[in-house]
């Protein structure tokens, strides 16, 4: 039954795409580990790190797409869930530093020693265990999404109202996490990580494993998303997106549908954030900046909202452009980003995947006409 559930939403293209993601996630790290340095086919470590980062972004984009593309909720706060997951992972990594910090305090992370903490704040307990951190990575973003969604969906806050509320949420978290007395590193956040599960975060092997894990997680997310979207639940979900009040008059409790995808999506974003942190080596409050969330929305828009492949492609395209432009022409990047928002909404509302489908169906029609 579960296998049928998992297979029901997948078409051939999606299966191929998932295989492609897995292939990247396996071949790149393998080439890095097995081939000799200097080989033309060996992926250098920085490529692993970059691809790993993009894969995490792609998972975040997929999470955004689940709520926006399939349920019509334009979330402007998903980076908050991503960052919360990241902070949970960051707390675990901080506890792993142990006595290797600058102050060598076995219990307190450096920033706490610096700020004059005498003992570990209560919410830090347990984060020395990976399993505990892993549970929190899923739980914290989910619970926040549950609380927000519960209030918002029940009282039928929709459209731009909901969007602004999600933005306000991430903005409030941004302000909160900037405070030193949050006990989470304040302005500077957390960095200088040493180990994850006993392996050095700096080593190439760990990098390779993290890159592979990111690809695996993305692939799993794609399978889950496809299953949800392809189920009868998914049909009802897109119907809610298209005509919410009609669904109510048909007897559907719309709130439950929205809440489920919202929480699911927040959990996915949290996991993506948790994988992201050890790969970039830092987590700080700027991850909560409203701009980050809305950029994630752009990835989805560029790739194609309401499709499963689209957000992954969009995340890769936009972030590749960002990496390139911020390096080569930094002052152009924001112009390009801003223009991309405008161009995509005005000219490419269905994104790259939509364009592809359109071209495809046109050429198919032409071929059909030629045959006739």
């Amino acid at each position: 039954m579960i296998t049928r559930f998992l297979w029901q939403g997948m078409d051939r293209n999606l299966r191929l795409f998932i295989l492609l993601v897995l292939a990247i996630g396996i071949l790149l790290p393998l080439s890095n580990q097995l081939l000799p340095v200097g080989s033309a086919f060996r992926a250098p470590s920085w490529v692993l790190q970059l691809v790993g980062k993009y894969l995490c972004y792609a998972s975040l984009a997929l999470a955004v797409d689940l709520v926006w593309g399939f349920c019509g909720i334009l979330t402007l706060g998903h980076a908050a869930f991503f960052a919360l997951g990241g902070y949970c992972m960051g707390m675990y990594l901080m506890r792993q530093i142990g006595t290797r910090g600058v102050y060598g305090n076995p219990l307190l992370p450096d920033f706490m020693v610096f700020l004059g903490y005498k003992e570990l704040p209560w919410f830090w307990h347990g984060f020395d265990h990976f399993w505990f951190a892993a549970v929190m990575i899923v739980l914290v973003p989910s619970l926040l999404a549950l609380a927000l969604g519960w209030f918002a969906f029940r009282s039928r806050v929709t459209g731009v109202y909901l969007s602004i509320i999600t933005q306000a949420m991430t903005f409030a978290l941004l302000l909160a996490f900037f405070r030193n007395d949050m006990g989470l590193g304040g302005n500077n956040g957390m960095t200088d990580f040493k180990d994850i599960l006993g392996f050095s975060v700096q080593s190439d092997t760990t990098r390779a494993m993290l890159c592979f894990t990111s690809a695996l997680v993305l692939a799993i997310f794609l399978v889950i998303a496809a299953a949800v979207v392809g189920s009868r639940f998914g049909k009802a979900l897109t119907a809610v997106r298209d005509a919410e009040s009609r669904m109510r008059f048909l007897g559907y409790r719309v709130e439950g549908y929205k809440l489920f995808v919202f929480v699911l999506s927040a959990a996915m974003a949290g996991i993506a954030g948790a994988l992201y942190v050890p790969q970039v080596g830092i987590i700080n409050p700027s991850e909560f900046a409203p701009g980050n969330s809305i950029e994630a929305v752009l990835w989805v828009a560029v790739g194609g909202r309401g499709t499963l492949i689209g957000p992954v492609i969009g995340a890769f395209i936009v972030n590749f452009g960002k990496t390139y432009l911020t390096g080569a022409l930094p002052e152009v990047w924001l112009f390009a980003l801003g223009a991309l928002f405008i161009v995509v909404t005005l000219l490419l509302p269905k994104g790259v995947v939509g364009l592809w489908n359109q071209l495809n169906s046109r050429s198919r029609e032409r071929r059909a006409r030629a045959v006739a």
């Binding site: 918002a152 039928r156 806050v157 109202y161 002052e331 801003g338 928002f341």
Partner: protein
């Protein structure tokens, strides 16, 4: 502490002041020259002589002496006052106060004083100011005495009180006297009780500390009276504090109103959420900067009216850009509010980066004209002119907007298009034109807001970012499509914010307000003053 020397000096000083121009009078030049001669004891006599001379120059000369700024120029033995100016001293003649060039310290000889002399000078100057011909100086001296509670001044105060005619200054002096009485151990309980009653009526922060000190240092009836007095003052002060918070809240609310009112038009009447609204505010602020920059270089005398010049310009600049945006982007997105949101966000990034490229990313200096700087006191309220003008300005903009909507044909068209677009169109109203003008109006008002905000916020490319969420909250809280709701919403949120701040801190206060609004939208999704009925759907 309670040495009798200064008092004797003072008494003689005061007595002679009353007889100004009498027996002790000598010519100023001699008096000043005497200051520079002899040892410390001769100098003390000279100080007293100068203080009792009744000369107008006595106070500045004595102050300079106390501050170690009185010199004798080695070359010509002229007594001068020297103020540090770079590594040289700017000189002025002690006797006339006229500028006398500058010199390095090596060319001068300082007239030295010791601590005891400083005490003498201070007392002498204090009494000089208590008897000054200028009422303002006398009042300030009395107020300063109230704060210092300098028991050595008691005798001087009594004399000054006897001579004082102005009721207000007289009151201030008797309050100062009461405060001194309370700190003087020799005072009788009866004197102290009388003093407590007097101080209690004053009811401000200083009198509170006087009474608290009295309560802790005394016993029995006096202690009880002082404690009761302090309690009463605390209550009064609490009320003033609340009033001050209300004022801060209104001040913040007026800023919110200015930022939100343009959004209330574009979102409220057109349903367009313009995420670049904050950038329109920013453009208004930069317009102000450019205007001031031009004025500084080419017409400095116009600086005081720079904001008045900037207002129409900011309106036109932001309005024109608004119209341009509506015609080139937003009109293609009507009926797709979420896409509008994304596109205008992109636009805001472009505008920010454009401003950053032109003006740089650092803060730009925008000055305050003289009529907007300074503060005044209203009871215990501190009110800055800048904030006051912003409150007034926001109300003017609000009133003007209401008039525009109610009394002009544009307003009529706007309301018609809002209520029933097809019908308005059928009646010959050119709806696209009305849309463009409405959007231009909303943006223009944001530009006006930018002029005002340039006075209280950093003028940087990020200026607008902070305002979009707040503005949106105000509009939603007040009720979409209802301008009076926006007014009430802005003021309420401003006041709530300021009342939360002391308890929760600025950041947590802001978070609490956000949470409050989120919860509020749960209960009343259409805001405080919702328009009910079918047309809303």
């Amino acid at each position: 502490m309670f040495s009798s020397r200064p008092i004797v000096v003072l008494l003689s000083t005061l007595a002679s002041l009353l007889l100004a121009g009498g027996a002790f009078a000598a010519d100023l030049a001699t008096l000043v020259a005497n200051l520079t001669l002899g040892g410390f004891s001769e100098r003390e006599t000279a100080i007293t002589a100068l203080a009792t001379s009744g000369e107008a120059r006595a106070a500045p000369i004595l102050e300079a002496l106390a501050a170690g700024q009185l010199y004798v120029r080695t070359s010509d033995k002229l007594v001068v006052i020297g103020k540090t100016d770079g590594n040289r001293l700017a000189l002025s003649e002690a006797i006339t106060g006229k500028a006398a060039g500058s010199a390095v310290e090596a060319d001068l000889e300082r007239v030295r004083v010791n601590n005891r002399l400083r005490g003498t000078i201070e007392a002498a100057v204090g009494s000089l100011t208590l008897m000054s011909p200028s009422p303002k100086v006398r009042l300030d001296a009395a107020e300063a005495l109230f704060k210092r509670r300098d028991s050595t001044a008691l005798a001087a105060l009594d004399l000054a009180l006897a001579a004082e005619k102005d009721q207000r200054i007289k009151r201030s002096m008797s309050e100062a006297r009461a405060a001194i009485v309370l700190t003087t151990p020799e005072s009788t309980p009866a004197q102290k009780l009388e003093a407590i009653a007097l101080v209690r009526e004053r009811a401000d922060r200083d009198s509170l500390s006087v009474l608290r000190a009295a309560a802790s240092s005394s016993e029995g009836e006096v202690k009880a009276a002082a404690t009761a007095g302090a309690g009463a003052i605390e209550q009064t002060l609490g009320a003033w504090q609340a009033a001050q918070n209300v004022w801060y809240g209104i001040s913040l609310g007026s800023v919110l109103l200015l930022a939100a009112i343009g959004l209330a038009i574009t979102f409220g009447t057109m349903g367009v959420i313009n995420m670049a609204h904050g950038e329109m505010v920013m453009l208004g602020a930069y317009t102000t900067f450019v205007v001031q920059d031009v004025i500084r270089t080419s017409a400095p005398h116009l600086f005081d009216v720079s904001l008045l010049i900037a207002l129409p310009l900011a309106f036109v600049v932001a309005g024109a850009i608004g119209i341009l945006i509506e015609r080139t982007i937003i009109r293609f997105l009507y009926g797709r509010p979420l896409d509008t949101l994304l596109a205008t966000w992109g636009l805001s990034l472009v505008l920010q980066q454009a401003v950053r490229s032109i003006f740089g990313s650092s803060n730009r200096e925008v000055g305050a004209p003289s009529w907007m700087s300074g503060t005044f006191q209203l009871g215990q309220l501190n009110i800055t002119y800048g904030r006051l003008w912003i409150v007034v300005f926001s109300l003017i903009v609000f009133a003007a907007l209401i008039l525009l909507l109610r009394r002009t044909s544009l307003g009529l068209y706007m309301r018609a298009v809002t209520q029933n677009r097809p019908m308005a169109s059928a009646m010959g109203i050119r709806t696209p034109r009305v849309d463009a003008l409405t959007f231009g109006l909303g943006s223009g008002i944001a530009g006006l807001a930018g002029v005002a905000l340039s006075q209280i916020d950093n003028v940087s490319p990020n200026l607008g970012q902070g305002y979009i969420i707040d503005s949106f909250m105000v509009v939603v809280f007040g009720g979409v499509g209802n301008l009076f709701g926006t007014l009430i919403g802005a003021l309420t949120l401003g006041v709530v914010n300021k009342f939360l701040e002391p308890y929760a801190g600025a950041v947590l206060g802001k978070i609490l307000v956000l949470v409050f609004i989120i919860l509020f939208i749960q209960r009343r999704p259409r805001g405080l003053f919702a328009l009910k009925g079918r047309s809303v759907e």
